[in-house]
């Protein structure tokens, strides 16, 4: 039997029982469409995370205190010895020891309530220097940035994130107004532009001079140089010199912390590339997980096909006998049943691709629990899913078809 005849024969057999065929097909449709939709959601998440990080600039390097090993130690015994100080940050500005570093912006943190009249809101406080804004790729909407004179003077000045500003002052420009944090009265000198959608959203942050945060909010002691920082943001000279800058930072800090050659670092340097890789890794796992769940439903669909094909072989035993008697070879029967199975899964695959595509297309931008779902439809996923559905037909169709082909024609003819 040639291919065209095989397909038309299979088509006739499949369409002879339309309800059964469509129910069988449905399993494949669900499997394939969920693969397509899940992969689109997964890839969408991956792409959006990557683009958000890239918005920050790929020349950003973050240095934080504590050895990597200790950070994840079960009993958290890292201790206070692993501390980065303002002096460490200043040392990174050295053009001789750290020639590939362009900008250094240390920060520390505090938290508390900001109070304006009767309005009261919790804030993520960040103690910064003037360089912070540039390091984090932020910009001002109103007023001015924290200046280094503010830092020297431990001034009680603050820059607000856009959301905080709106919460406390509504649509008014708050520059010049005052607010209280930890019983201290701050003058608001500026408001940052909203960065909604970025990964380190500053809209809920309040920036104050790093010295003010240390001495006047956290009640820290000691000299200016010894102020502990929670992390240092460093910009490399260019995106291409990130690795050189990383080496500079390591050299300077190891020297300053007087580490021996075989001591581990007591600080952690993270480039944006590291962050992207880590997050992409996590997202990759997520995509694989989603894909596997969807793949399992495709597998279940395949088992459905096999089940129906086995029933069909039993029901059509006599037909098989007749075909054999009039000259069909074993392989004619084998091909016929395999073709029927593939026909069903292929049709299911096409419907599934269309359905999955539609779900991904119309689901793009939908909001679930306040999160915007982004979907990225990839043609190769659709092609693969279609290929897999054909393979599922082949795989699950072959056993019933072999059973059909190996029937003894005499017994098959006698079958009632």
């Amino acid at each position: 039997m040639n291919a065209a005849l095989l397909i038309s024969t299979a088509l006739a057999s499949v369409s002879a029982n339309k309800l059964r065929a469509s129910l069988t097909l449905l399993g494949i449709v669900i499997g394939v469409s969920s693969v397509i939709a899940m992969m689109a959601v997964g890839r969408g998440a991956q792409v959006s995370v990557t683009s958000r990080i890239s918005d920050l600039g790929t020349d950003l390097i973050t240095v934080s205190p504590g050895a990597e090993a200790l950070r994840f130690a079960f009993f958290g015994g890292g201790g206070n010895s692993d501390v980065l100080s303002l002096a460490d940050a200043l040392a990174l500005k050295d053009d001789v020891f750290a020639p590939d570093v362009r900008l250094v912006a240390p920060e520390n943190s505090f938290s508390g309530s900001a109070i304006v009249g009767s309005e009261n809101t919790f804030v993520n406080g960040v103690g910064v220097t003037a360089e912070y804004l540039e390091a984090r790729n932020l910009s001002m909407e109103y007023g001015r940035n924290i200046s280094n004179i503010d830092v020297e003077n431990t001034s009680l000045v603050a820059v607000l994130g856009s959301e905080i500003s709106e919460t406390l002052f509504g649509q008014q420009n708050p520059v010049g107004a005052t607010m209280k944090i930890s019983e201290r009265e701050f003058t608001i000198v500026g408001v940052m532009e909203s960065q909604e959608g970025t990964i380190f959203n500053p809209d809920n942050s309040v920036l104050i001079p790093i010295t003010t945060a240390h001495y006047r909010i956290n009640n820290g002691k000691g000299l200016f140089d010894s102020i502990a920082v929670s992390s240092i943001n460093v910009l490399a000279r260019s995106e291409n010199t990130v690795d050189d800058a990383r080496l500079d930072i390591s050299t300077v800090l190891r020297l300053r912390h007087e580490l021996a050659a075989d001591d581990e670092d007591d600080f952690l340097i993270t480039t944006q590339q590291d962050t992207i890789e880590t997050l992409e890794g996590t997202q990759g796992t997520f995509v694989i997980l989603l894909g596997s769940i969807a793949g399992i439903s495709l597998l279940v669909g395949g088992i459905g096909v096999m089940n129906i094909m086995l029933v069909s072989v039993t029901e059509r035993t006599r037909e098989i006998g007749i075909r054999r008697a009039v000259g069909a070879k074993r392989r004619d029967i084998l091909f016929q049943f395999v073709t029927e199975a593939i026909l069903m899964t292929f049709a299911g695959g096409i419907l599934g691709v269309v359905t999955g595509w539609a779900i991904a297309y119309f689901g793009n931008g939908a909001t679930v629990d306040g999160d915007i779902i982004e979907t990225v439809i990839e043609t190769h996923i659709a092609v693969i899913a279609l290929g897999v559905s054909v393979a599922v037909g082949l795989f699950f169709g072959i056993y019933p078809a072999v059973r059909a082909a190996s029937l003894n024609p005499i017994e098959a003819l006698r079958h009632e």
Partner: protein
């Protein structure tokens, strides 16, 4: 189509079946020759081995030992595929229960053997199937499905299907078993005409003595052996020599 070989030549054919620990000899050293253009009835009680003989002649089954030469070709050693090809090329089957595909039309049922033998376009298949249906007098029934036809008509579709590839040999297994007297007579008449006018060699397995007496030769089976082999004188003389001269 002229051949110096007999249509069928069996020599010491044995067919054994294993039933539990027993060995049943369904065919016990059968030797038999059927010439081209013969019209033979095979009779015998149930279990006499006539069905096994039919399966062997039909290349659906292989003898345990002995040789079966079909139209000059030794069939006993052939593979499954070669047997399928032999069935397709040399044989036409007619069954007691017609064995038509219920969802297909008469035309499509008759086309079936052509689908498994390559070299026919869709057009060729349809025209060959129509010719075969015309031959059995069903020109008005091309598009009818088996359920829409009488038993006699269904059996004639079965005969058309057996004819469509123009085989030398037609094997009919109880072709009238499910039919009333009138339809039986029609089917027998049809088989006779295929023998007399088209020169087909016809072998019919039957219980029905009337059917058997309508053939030119009767072979009786009992317990896997031939117990009687006689020719029948038909009222209208039919002669093998006339048939073979036509060929």
């Amino acid at each position: 189509m002229t051949s110096t070989f007999p249509a069928i030549q069996l020599e010491n054919v044995v067919r054994e079946f294993h039933v539990g620990t027993h060995v049943v000899r369904a065919l016990d050293s059968i030797s038999l020759t059927i010439e081209h253009g013969e019209m033979v009835a095979i009779i015998g009680p149930s279990g006499s081995g006539k069905s096994t003989l039919m399966n062997t002649l039909g290349c659906l089954d292989q003898p345990t030992s002995g040789s079966f030469v079909l139209n000059g070709q030794d069939v006993s050693g052939l593979s499954d595929n070669q047997l399928a090809e032999t069935r397709s090329r040399q044989l036409g089957f007619v069954f007691q229960s017609y064995n038509l595909l219920p969802r297909e039309t008469a035309l499509s049922n008759v086309e079936l053997p052509l689908k498994y033998s390559g070299g026919y376009s869709g057009k060729d298949r349809r025209s060959a199937a129509k010719t075969a249906l015309d031959r059995v007098g069903l020109s008005e029934r091309y598009d009818h499905r088996p359920m829409q036809m009488s038993g006699g008509e269904q059996q004639r579709v079965g005969i058309a299907r057996a004819l469509v590839k123009n085989p030398e040999l037609i094997l009919a297994d109880e072709p009238t078993g499910n039919l009333d007297t009138k339809s039986s007579a029609e089917v027998i008449e049809m088989l006779r005409s295929l023998n007399e006018e088209d020169g087909k060699t016809i072998v019919v397995v039957t219980h029905d003595t009337e059917v058997a007496e309508a053939m030119n030769r009767i072979i009786a089976f009992r317990d896997g052996r031939i117990v009687e082999d006689r020719s029948v004188d038909q009222p209208t003389p039919t002669s093998a020599s006339v048939d073979s001269s036509k060929q």
